[in-house]
Structure formats: structure tokens, C-alpha cells
Symmetry: C2
Subunit: 248 residues, 2 copies
């Protein structure tokens, strides 16, 4: 069934009002009519099965039929800090990382990031990534859309607080069997924890970055025995975390 995220202010008792691009999707793309059923997602309350009452030009009025008992959210809040990379790597990480349960993405201008963002285009690029996160949330039937932050420099990142665990992983860590394994890190994580993890660019982190991470209490993490591409590493991390905390 089609799923739409609806902001808190558009819920009043049993009435739900859908607006924006989703109206076009309902009326033109899906060609739905009054009486059709959709799932509306409330940012806090979760998913509700709804019936369409009226399709207007700019809004669709729905009524809640019943609240659904869904639990699809990863019980650990994960913020993926992803260094800028070539091509569509960041888009891939946001799309697939959303499917795998991430809570937030921070694009990071690493010292060795070959790709640079024109500062005038940051807003547009973040909006595009946010849209990818929304679509991936709908597709994977999540009840929460991950937030995409603006472009961070190292000093912005080090100001971030209130995480239970901060990790950094990069290619060199896979070669360095002395670093603690991923499993030893993940088995320490409890439901409700807030985890931040930084992934390096194609060329890895600079020495300055590694020193800054270590000084700020970030823990290095090895990501399995093989060398993973920068866009594959976060997917391995999220999958393993899901396997560790969600699988029984």
C-alpha cells in the first residue's frame, strides 16, 4: 500500500490532510479516488491506515481507519558522517543507508575528498539528498525520515555532542588487524544508544583528521577482512549493527 509522510500539524483528531507533491502522486500517478486506502505516517505516532475522503487541487483529505502496529526503526540512533566522494556515492549511501535504518546523514568535506562542493550549491545538494532519504523511507516502510545535515568541516564535526559512541572507520583499519574488531564494538552498543561513525574518502583520512578524532575520543573500527569502497563501508556497518541488535 502507498505510504505518505504527513507533518504533525496536518493531523486533527481522525482527519489527516496530505499536501505538496504527494497530492499529484495520489491523483495523477496512482490515479486514486475517494474511498482508496493509503498509509499516512505521523512523525511521532507512527503509521495509520487511512481512507481518502476527498481529492482537491492542492490537498487530499483522509480519515484514520486504524493505527498500525509497526516496528521497523533500528533501536539505535545512527548518524553516518560520510566524506564527499566521486560520482553518486553520497546518494547511494543516503538511499541504501536509509533502507538499513540510519537516523541522520552528515556530508563531510574531508581533507582528501577529491570531490568538492561549490558552497553556493550546498543547499540544493542537501535538499536533493533529503528527498532521496524521504523516498527511501517510504519505499522501505520506515516511520521516520532520516535528517540530512548541511556540509560539515572537521571543526563542525568535533562540536557535535551527546553521542554514546563515536567511531571512525577507514580502509587502513581493515589492514591493521590490531584495531578492535567491529564485533567487539557492536556488542557494547545497547538499544537507545546514539552512535556516530565517520567514513573516510577514497584516499582515507589525513593524519590530522585521525589525530583530531582520537583526541576527541573517537574509537577506530575495523570493517571486516576485505577492503571496502567508501560507499560500501557504511552499508556493512549498518547491516552488521542491524544483525547484532535486531535479529533474534
Amino acid at each position: 500500500m502507498q505510504r505518505y509522510f504527513v507533518e504533525t500539524e496536518h493531523w486533527q483528531g481522525q482527519a489527516v490532510t496530505i499536501d505538496g507533491e504527494d497530492v499529484h502522486h495520489i491523483s495523477r500517478v496512482m490515479r486514486m479516488e475517494p474511498g482508496s486506502e493509503v498509509v499516512c505516517i505521523h512523525p511521532v505516532e507512527g503509521a495509520a491506515l487511512c481512507r481518502i475522503e476527498e481529492i482537491k487541487e492542492k490537498t487530499v483529505d483522509c480519515e484514520v481507519l486504524e493505527w498500525m502496529d509497526e516496528d521497523r526503526e533500528l533501536p539505535v540512533e545512527v548518524t553516518i558522517v560520510q566524506s564527499l566522494g566521486k560520482g553518486d556515492k553520497l546518494e547511494q549511501v543516503v538511499q541504501k543507508g536509509t533502507e538499513l535504518g540510519a537516523s541522520r546523514f552528515i556530508p563531510f568535506a574531508a581533507d582528501r575528498s577529491v570531490a568538492k562542493w561549490d558552497l553556493k550549491k550546498v543547499k540544493k545538494k542537501v535538499e536533493r539528498l533529503q528527498k532521496i532519504a524521504k523516498e527511501a523511507s517510504e519505499q522501505s516502510e520506515r516511520t521516520r525520515i532520516p535528517e540530512v545535515s548541511s556540509l560539515y568541516q572537521l571543526q563542525d564535526l568535533l562540536k557535535e555532542e551527546s553521542f554514546t559512541w563515536c567511531f571512525f572507520g577507514h580502509a587502513e583499519e581493515a589492514r591493521d588487524a590490531v584495531s578492535p574488531s567491529l564485533k567487539s564494538r557492536l556488542t557494547s552498543i545497547e538499544p537507545g544508544d546514539k552512535v556516530l561513525i565517520v567514513f573516510g574518502p577514497e584516499g582515507g583520512f589525513s593524519e590530522k583528521e585521525v589525530e583530531a578524532f582520537k583526541d576527541s575520543g573517537y574509537l577506530p573500527v575495523r570493517l571486516g577482512p576485505r577492503i571496502l569502497r567508501m560507499e560500501t563501508a557504511p552499508l556493512y556497518f549498518l547491516s552488521s549493527l542491524s544483525y547484532q541488535v535486531e535479529e533474534e
Copy 2:
């Protein structure tokens, strides 16, 4: 250090001869000279640190300096049977699945695959996927290149034998909490086992396919609580398997 796969017949005692496209890569792209060191991968014996002795027009002669003690291969042989999908999904699965340790890929013409392969182009498409697997093996520092099989129909697949475990996973399985969890499946797998897993296309498997799988003893597998895209599901499976059998 640069890594090159060298076929068995090109090893004689301490002498290794590199040929084909790698010669251009060594002489023109990397601009290496006699005395430079490279890693040559023997299909059975693994990785050897080698010194370039002579760069000729069509071959590069090397000498083995020492055999390297590398263990990057997933201790379980995994065959990923991937239904044809839109765009570059199959390429993504082969590239990232190779990084994550798969042994073999089988492109599968599922009943509901929207994408179809022109039968005249199958050979070329498989060659392209095989090249992606080779490059991803080099990049992830594996000692083995996964094999890419030709396009399979359902009856070809059901003829495949000699697997310890055959699984099938698709979107519906995530919704159906009654299916056994991934963890309950993966904890049964032992090092040395041969595992085959089939992933469905965007629209899922047909009833006929599901029946055929069940009749042939394939076990359904649930892939975590969220609905994963067809190209994300195999990455979740391989990551979780690696985490289960490789992480300590």
C-alpha cells in the same frame, strides 16, 4: 600496492609473467619501471609480493620476492542468484557483493523481472559483469575472483546441486514475521559450507517460483525488519554472514 591476478600457467618457479590489459596498466597508467614492486595473485596459492624485472610490449616479467600471508576470503562459499532488474542494479550487486566476499553470481530471468536481456547480448553482458568482479576483487584485495555465470532460467537454477544450503529471500518475507529470521539461518552455517541464495526482482517472485523453490528444498529467509530494495538485500545478507562467521 597494485595487485594483479595472474593465471596458473603464467607461474614458473619464481618467475611470473603478466599479460593482457594489465601490461598497459603497469607501463602506461602506473608508469612503473623495472625494480617496482607489485602483488601478483595466484588462483590457488594466493598473493605474492613480486619485483618487476622487465617490461616488454605485451608482457611484464616479474620475480616472486615472498609469499604473503593474507586471509581475506569469506570461509563460506556464497552464490548470489540475482533477478534481472532495472538500470545498473546487477552491476552494483556484482561490484559490492564481490567486496563483501561472494564466490559466484548467477543472473536470473525471474518471471516478474521487468528488465529483459536480449539473448544475443547475454555473452557481452556476462563479460562486462565478469570484468566488474575482477576489478572489485583487486580493489578489495581478495585472492579470488568470483565467477559470473550465464543467464539462468528457473529450470537451469533448479538443476544446480551440491549446495549445503539453498535460500530465497524477497520483500514479502520482511513483512511476514512468521518466516525464520536471518540469524536463525546464519547460525546454522559452518565454515566450508556452500550457500546459494536467490533474490527476487522489484515485483517479488511469482507464485510458481515460490512453489518451485519450496519443492526443491529452498528455505525462505527474512532480511531484517525493513523492506530492502532488490540490490540492497544481497549486501545485507553478505554483510550479516561476514559478521556472523568472520567477526570475533
